[in-house]
């Protein structure tokens, strides 16, 4: 029985190296215990393990690109079982059916898809709901955001933020890691200090004004809003502080619209 500990988060590169080594030595999935550094710390009786030899494996396995793409997302999930699941799928793709991922109703594939889908959605929501606030830092405009992704989604969106805000100085802070961009290089920092995040921004009042006026009080569809923007995201989105009042007043506003219409 092999025990492999992935020390980094999300752990994609580390897992990939270890998985390649295991595959080269043909170690079946049921003979490996995968764990993350976090789960080891929790285990008081954890015993030290030998790192698996990562010398060049005898045989290079070509892993299909579509499979790797799925792993890339699934491995950013916060579920500690992700490493074992990905290795099991990898094993089955190699030795059982190279088209395995097309079998959308296979139990392993379904699990993998569920993880990947959750991460994709989480990462998308990050690019959507993250809000920058402006501060003056060393005489430069600097934009700071605090965001709490459900999974390890920051690394999946770094390209997006660098492309979109290439010539801006910005910092994105999450509970597990921060990314700082100075228009040329990216610096990562683990466990950042959230106290540097400003609690106001001079443009926010315009955004709130816009948000309150762009909605049509004659068509309340609260459930539709909640399914796309669940409450767990609200605390870092300034405009959500208006929602309760907007809904409360909507009926009166809609009635007024109709009444005024009949004048």
């Amino acid at each position: 029985m092999e025990t492999i500990t992935i020390n980094s988060v999300p752990g994609f590169d580390e897992w990939r190296m270890a998985a390649r080594a295991c595959l080269a030595q043909a170690i079946p999935p049921e003979n490996i215990i995968w764990q993350s550094a976090q789960s080891v710390q929790d285990d008081l009786f954890g015993h030290s393990q030998q790192p698996i030899a990562t010398t060049k494996p005898q045989k290079q396995h070509a892993i299909p690109k579509a499979v790797l793409m799925l792993f890339k997302y699934a491995l950013c999930h916060s579920d500690a079982h992700r490493f074992a699941l990905c290795y099991r799928v990898l094993w089955r793709v190699m030795f059982e059916n190279k088209h395995l991922i097309r079998l959308k109703t296979d139990d392993d594939i379904m699990q993998l898809m569920t993880l990947a889908k959750a991460v994709k959605r989480d990462a998308y929501k990050m690019s959507a709901f993250l809000r920058f606030r402006e501060v003056n830092l060393d005489d430069n405009e600097h934009f700071i955001a605090w965001y709490e992704p459900e999974h390890f989604s920051l690394e999946l969106k770094l390209d997006f933020f660098q492309n979109r805000f290439k010539n801006m100085r910005w910092s994105i802070l999450t509970p597990y890691r921060a990314a700082h961009w100075d228009t040329e290089t990216l610096r990562l920092e683990d466990n950042p200090d959230s106290s540097v995040v400003p609690d106001d921004d001079h443009i926010e009042k315009y955004w709130l004004t816009y948000y309150a006026n762009i909605f049509n009080p004659a068509r309340i569809k609260k459930e539709a809003m909640l399914s796309s923007m669940p409450k767990k995201y609200w605390k870092n989105m300034p405009e959500t502080s208006l929602i309760d009042d907007m809904i409360k007043q909507s009926d009166a506003r809609a009635r007024k619209m109709i009444k005024d219409g009949r004048k």
């Binding site: 934009f143 997006f160 805000f165 290439k166």
Partner: protein, 413 residues
């Protein structure tokens, strides 16, 4: 202290909320180049990100505002018509540009959706709108999304210039027929609107394929294409007329999107208008039908049996109920076009079924794992280990099981 810009923003975003086409369409990918030291923004391909949602369930993707709500026209359905007593305001070019950039930098929006009332003349209005787009692109290197609602009757030169800076252009047809337009928007002319659409269609096609003499590609021209909007339920046009107009717009003018907006009461409304709002369910059914026409291979005559769509059943289910003889469909054998016609199977599910079928036979358990709407699907399909009772489809009152209890929300306005 109530600053002036806030007041303007209140008026000019409130005035824009009646426009349904809020989403940013796909206009390809774009970002600031390596040597670009000032530009901002990107397009990620696909439809734009929804940065927030309002309590009406709508996605907030763009800064959707009117440049001004002053207007010399008198369109009856429009809150900004000249005879209405609403508060009026106007943004300057700089204010609009700054607001867009400031919102964009904070990750509130994907870009700008700019529409306008008509001030002075159509050309003067259009010129200011083009200046806003031009300033964003050239002065600030803005790579985000820009949608301009072009002004009917503005000169072709201005419309062409708009296409150089905008990702998408649109002109609202507003009413499906000329007689309705005469009645509700006396200054608008369907022929002129279609004429503008045709000019833009040709330009879009030209810039996509043609090259200059030196072999360079022409600059981008409205890569996201054109869209339009029709107001539903203000006039008496039936669904067949409305969808017929859409089909023409899709086929002849190559429009990317036709939006339907159920007429909703506006403050200070004109007397020509109906007092009651159009039911939202009708708007919903029109969108469903529009989708089936574009992506599911249905023809107009198949979808609209009488002059109106069925409000009780979605248009695909309604078609299936009228054509029970073609069911049940064997999911292991039917071709793609037939699978797309099965109630409860969407385009994505059909892709999945086709992929699975290449490797293994589909059984009932596979359907449950795909989380399909089994109750709806059941009478219309067969798989390896399941076939419906052959009398089921022809049984009395078979269709009643699909009738949804009336939802208050969908009917209230």
């Amino acid at each position: 202290m109530h600053d002036k810009l806030i007041q303007k923003l209140e008026i000019l975003s409130d005035a824009a909320k009646y426009d349904a086409s809020c989403a940013s369409g796909s206009a390809g990918k774009r970002k600031a180049g390596k040597t670009d030291k000032t530009g901002i923004g990107s397009l990620t391909g696909g439809s734009g990100i929804c940065h927030s949602f309002t309590p009406d369930g709508r996605c907030v993707s763009l800064l959707k505002i009117l440049m001004t709500n002053y207007c010399i026209y008198d369109c009856h359905y429009c809150i900004n018509r000249v005879s209405s007593s609403v508060r009026r305001a106007r943004f300057s070019v700089k204010e609009t540009v700054d607001l867009t950039l400031n919102f964009y930098k904070r990750n509130y929006i994907e870009g700008l959706f700019l529409s306008s009332g008509i001030v002075g003349s159509p050309d003067l209005t259009m010129e200011s709108m083009v200046r806003i787009a031009k300033s964003l692109r050239l002065d600030h290197g803005f790579k985000g999304y820009i949608h301009l609602k072009t002004i009917p009757n503005a000169s072709p030169e201005l419309q062409e210039e708009a296409g150089l800076y905008a990702d998408r252009l649109s002109i609202n047809v507003e009413m499906p027929t000329q007689p309705s337009l005469n009645k509700y928007a006396p200054e608008k002319d369907l022929g002129a609107i279609h004429g503008s659409m045709n000019t833009l269609k040709d330009k879009i096609a030209e810039h996509k394929t043609d090259k200059t003499y030196s072999g360079k590609r022409l600059p981008r021209f409205a890569p996201g294409g054109q869209s339009t909007q029709m107001i539903i339920g203000a006039d008496d046009s039936n669904d067949k007329v409305i969808l017929g107009t859409s089909v023409k717009l899709y086929n002849q003018q190559k429009l990317r999107r036709v939006y339907y907006s159920a007429f909703s009461p506006i403050p200070d409304a004109s007397e020509v208008l109906p007092l009651k709002p159009a039911p939202l369910i009708r708007e919903h059914r029109l969108y469903q039908a529009d989708w089936l026409l574009r992506f599911y291979g249905f023809t107009l005559d198949e979808i609209v049996h009488d002059d109106m769509l069925d409000m009780d059943y979605d248009p695909k289910l309604a078609w299936a109920l009228r054509n029970r003889h073609v069911f049940p469909v064997d999911l292991n054998k039917a071709d793609k076009l037939m699978l797309l016609r099965v109630p409860g199977l969407g385009a994505r599910t059909v892709q999945k079924i086709l992929a699975i079928r290449r490797h293994t036979k589909l059984n009932w358990i596979d359907l449950t794992k795909m989380r399909l709407p089994l109750k709806k699907l059941k009478p219309f399909i067969s798989v390896g280990d399941y076939a419906p009772d052959i009398h089921l489809l022809d049984s009395n009152n078979f269709e009643l099981q699909f009738k949804q209890p009336k939802q208050f929300e969908l009917f209230s306005a």
